[in-house]
């Protein structure tokens, strides 16, 4: 079943409530603002309605607290900073950033957010900002980050213990092992950059497995925390990889999804072979973002953000 809701402009990012299966809450960040759905993406409302904006506020990134049911916190990356809501998007607060205003390109929330209140924001030109107080105050932490144009971020599922993060930039990949306070370059050939997407195994702390999607050089896999890399899907993955999703049971269930600009590819064997997941797009439509709130198993819903502003539920 494919359903499409009519909203406008590019959907840069999608985020779902951790309890999506029960409450159907999800958010779409797009050129014309942030939209909220309470029915699994069938209908959408303007999440910035309380701001009564005269002009649309482009929203590039959105992230939901892993403890959303209790704290109702969500964060939206907009040109100039980050908006923070603690009531599920009903009202918003502007987080303070040092000038000049950054353009936020990626947002990640600590899996241990309920206790550590940590969020990180990747920006274009200004590197990484970090907040340790639930998004209220932010400061730049760019020690060792030699490229300040951040395109993608990924946080370790075991962040509470290993404090590990990766950022993909215009010219390579950087890793932090101290909660985003300092960065070291990962041995990833800079010729393969820009790095548009990153995904860590749910058991990264044990298996050190991560995937990287590039703009023009395909998809790469590392089984040793980024020390060595293998290109995967050489035949199938020939376009820019905008997003990578892993099954929550990975590597036991090695399902892997790669979102290209015009195709949705799925691998059921950790990237060895790939199938085109027929999304049923019109020729003029492109795909910009994807989220799988219940994993990648058969019958699990998949929300796909389109370049014309639509959101598909597959």
């Amino acid at each position: 079943m494919v359903e499409e809701t009519e909203i406008l402009n590019i959907v840069y990012s999608l985020a779902t409530s951790p309890d999506f299966e029960r409450n159907g809450i999800c958010f779409a960040a797009r050129s014309s603002g942030l939209y909220r759905s309470e029915d699994g993406g069938l209908t959408w409302q303007d999440a910035y309605a309380s701001l009564a904006l005269e002009v649309p506020l482009t929203t590039v990134a959105v992230a939901v607290s892993p403890n959303f049911e209790a704290d109702r916190s969500l964060f939206a990356g907009v040109p100039g900073g980050i908006l923070r809501s603690v009531d599920g998007g009903q009202s918003w607060h502007v987080a303070s950033f040092p000038p000049p205003p950054p353009v936020v390109s990626a947002l990640v929330v600590s899996p241990n957010f309920a206790r550590d209140g940590t969020l990180l924001a990747g920006t274009m030109e200004d590197g990484v900002f970090r907040s340790g107080d639930r998004g209220e105050h932010w400061s730049a932490w760019n020690f060792g980050l030699l490229d300040l144009n951040v395109l993608s971020m990924a946080i370790s599922p075991d962040f509470a213990n290993d404090e590990t993060l990766f950022v993909g930039t215009e010219s390579g990949i950087f890793r932090s092992t101290n909660g985003g306070r300092a960065w070291r370059e990962v041995d990833f050939p800079s010729d393969f950059a820009p790095v548009l997407s990153l995904a860590l195994s749910p058991t990264y702390a044990d298996d050190g497995l991560l995937f990287v999607g590039t703009e023009s050089c395909g998809l790469f896999r590392s089984d040793d925390r980024g020390h060595t890399w293998t290109r995967i899907g050489r035949e199938a993955v020939t376009d820019a990889v905008n997003s990578i999703l892993l099954s929550p049971e990975f590597p036991a269930k090695p399902d892997l999804l790669a979102l290209l600009s015009d195709a949705l590819l799925v691998s059921r064997d950790g990237g060895q072979s790939w199938l085109d997941w027929q999304a049923g797009l019109r020729p003029e439509q492109g795909m910009a973002s994807v989220v799988a709130p219940r994993g990648l198993g058969p019958g699990a819903p998949l929300l796909v953000g389109l370049t014309d502003g639509g959101v598909l539920q597959i």
């Binding site: 730049a140 020690f143 010219s171």
Partner: protein, 553 residues
């Protein structure tokens, strides 16, 4: 006849008197340093009654050796000055490890003298000692592990400075800034330790005029999305600047930082007269660095960081040739009376990486300490941030000593992060015994066998000293350690035999290796000294020295 009168000003001493004299001097220096080895060091007081001052309390072998200027006996003095020089050089080079080197040196020298007295050949022994030293160094290299994370780094720091609060602070700082990061250690105003992280890079050059300060509360000026004119030009006439300013205004650039070798009063007055932060603002600083080489390096770093092209006086550049692409750019620029900084330089990240890689290669390829320090400083600047540690204390003396300790610990930590760590407490040296024993078993040459036997005994000396200093029976504990197996040692704080690495008791590999090299190579060389020639009269330049400066044990 062991010695004979020489000329009026020379006295020649032969064996065995020469060895005995040198041995006494070496032993005196080492016995003065020995109590400082280990986590429970005792303090050595240097008498300063000639200066009407309280004794200087020291627990660093290199400094203790440095304070001993002369011993009474002539032969003793030669031995003492020999080892003093070895230890001071080691301290300058590695920052630590002098007490370990001292006990190793003493063991090798004393056992070597015993062997030579029994008829051994000094030159051949020296040669085999150096071969044995290589066995030790190779084994230490094999045992080296690299460390990361603030807890591990704090453990290393504590094994160097034995100051837990300082160690924790340095662990956190180095976890953030990395081995090449820029760290300034300054005297603090409170009793404790404080640290601050500074975003971006900064250079020690302030604004050319106080009138350029716009934030009177913070006494600094900040520019956003600024263009940067990178040069060492001497700008005498405001008209020289006009092409650059015109280009900025045409390109709608509203902030300009001018880096120049010199600006005349007229140029400064011109910039101040045209100060209008609403429309266009230009501030100026002098080119960082002292001397042509440092300035050229600073210009190169600024250019790579900001994506600009430097204008260099020696190359005949003038601003009349300037093009828009010659300007560097940064998200933020700040300047105060003393420094200026750049945050978010918009140079090509790939070029920046290559530049840092070149500097790192130069750093690795040189042994010259001053050059290495300059290169490290440049790399640290380019890595995107710096840290400042303020060291406080109750008295000025306490602050100075703790500041010195922090600097020394930081230097050793850099080496430890770069080159890894080894099990501490003398365990890594002890672990070299099987490799040396194997060499001993394979050797048939008496001098070679003696050299390996000497080294097997020497590598036990540090751990025995640590145990004795902590008040334990070294032989009893050594038996427990041997029973526990490789990697195990004695934690004198808990009184337990433990896995040293897992417990976090470790030493910087570079320090351990430097100590072994300094001790064994120098002791081997000292053993080849067969004849001493003393002056019978003090040379004139030596008698000028004031008596109060001469320290005796």
């Amino acid at each position: 006849m062991n010695s004979m009168p020489g000329s009026k000003t020379r006295r020649v001493v032969f064996q065995p008197t020469a060895y005995r004299g040198m041995q006494r001097g070496i032993n005196q220096i080492v016995e003065a340093i020995r109590p400082t080895l280990g986590p429970r060091p005792r303090v050595v007081a240097i008498d300063r009654t000639f200066d009407d001052k309280m004794p200087e309390l020291l627990d660093n072998g290199g400094v203790i050796a440095r304070r001993i200027i002369q011993l009474p006996g002539r032969g003793e003095d030669v031995g003492a000055m020999f080892i003093r020089d070895v230890l001071w050089r080691l301290r300058e080079q590695a920052g630590d490890g002098t007490a370990t080197a001292a006990v190793l040196f003493q063991s090798v020298y004393n056992e070597g003298v015993r062997y030579l007295a029994a008829g051994g050949n000094a030159m051949r022994l020296h040669s085999y000692l150096e071969k044995g030293m290589q066995v030790i160094l190779d084994h230490l290299t094999d045992m080296t592990v690299h460390v990361a994370g603030k807890e591990k780094l704090a453990q290393i720091a504590e094994s160097i400075c034995y100051d837990p609060p300082l160690a924790r602070m340095l662990g956190e700082i180095f976890d953030i800034i990395g081995e090449c990061g820029r760290l300034e250690i300054r005297p603090g105003r409170s009793r404790g330790l404080e640290r601050e992280y500074v975003e971006g890079m900064y250079w020690e050059r302030g604004l050319v005029s106080r009138e350029m300060i716009t934030d009177r509360n913070r006494l600094r000026t900040e520019l956003e999305n600024a263009a940067i004119l990178i040069s060492d030009l001497e700008i005498e006439d405001p008209r020289q600047l006009l092409p650059a300013i015109a280009l900025c205004i045409e390109a709608n650039i509203r902030s300009l930082l001018i880096v120049a070798g010199k600006l005349s009063d007229g140029v400064i007055a011109f910039l101040l007269a045209n100060k209008n932060p609403e429309k266009f603002q230009a501030i100026a600083v002098k080119t960082p660095g002292w001397g042509a080489d440092e300035q050229a390096a600073a210009l190169a770093d600024l250019a790579v960081l900001t994506g600009g092209n430097p204008f260099v006086r020696m190359a005949g550049h003038t601003l009349s040739q300037i093009k828009l692409e010659d300007f560097g750019h940064a998200r933020r620029v700040w300047a105060d009376y003393l420094n200026f900084g750049i945050i978010g330089g918009q140079g090509n990240p790939r070029a920046l990486r290559e530049h840092i890689a070149t500097l790192r290669a130069s750093f690795d390829g040189t042994e010259e300490p001053v050059l290495r320090e300059k290169l490290l400083k440049r790399i640290g600047k380019l890595l995107g941030g710096s840290a400042t540690l303020w060291v406080g204390g109750a008295t000025e003396l306490e602050i100075t000593e703790r500041q010195e300790l922090a600097k020394r610990t930081a230097a050793v930590m850099r080496g430890a992060i770069m080159e890894g760590v080894l099990p501490g407490g003398g365990v890594s040296l002890l672990a070299c015994r099987p490799a040396l024993q194997q060499k001993l078993d394979q050797s048939t040459d008496p001098d070679a066998r003696a050299a390996y036997r000497i080294l097997i005994k020497a590598v036990e000396a540090p751990i025995r000293t640590i145990l004795t200093n902590a008040g334990y029976d070294a032989s009893e504990i050594m038996a427990q350690i041997n029973l526990a197996g490789p990697g195990y040692g004695f934690d004198v704080t808990s009184g337990q035999v433990v896995d040293m690495m897992q417990t976090g008791i470790c030493d910087a590999a570079t320090v351990q290796k430097s100590a072994v090299y300094a001790a064994v190579a120098s002791a081997g060389l000292a053993l080849t000294i067969d004849v001493l020639v003393h002056r019978t009269q003090q040379p004139e330049h030596a008698t000028i020295r004031a008596p109060s400066k001469r320290k005796r044990l």
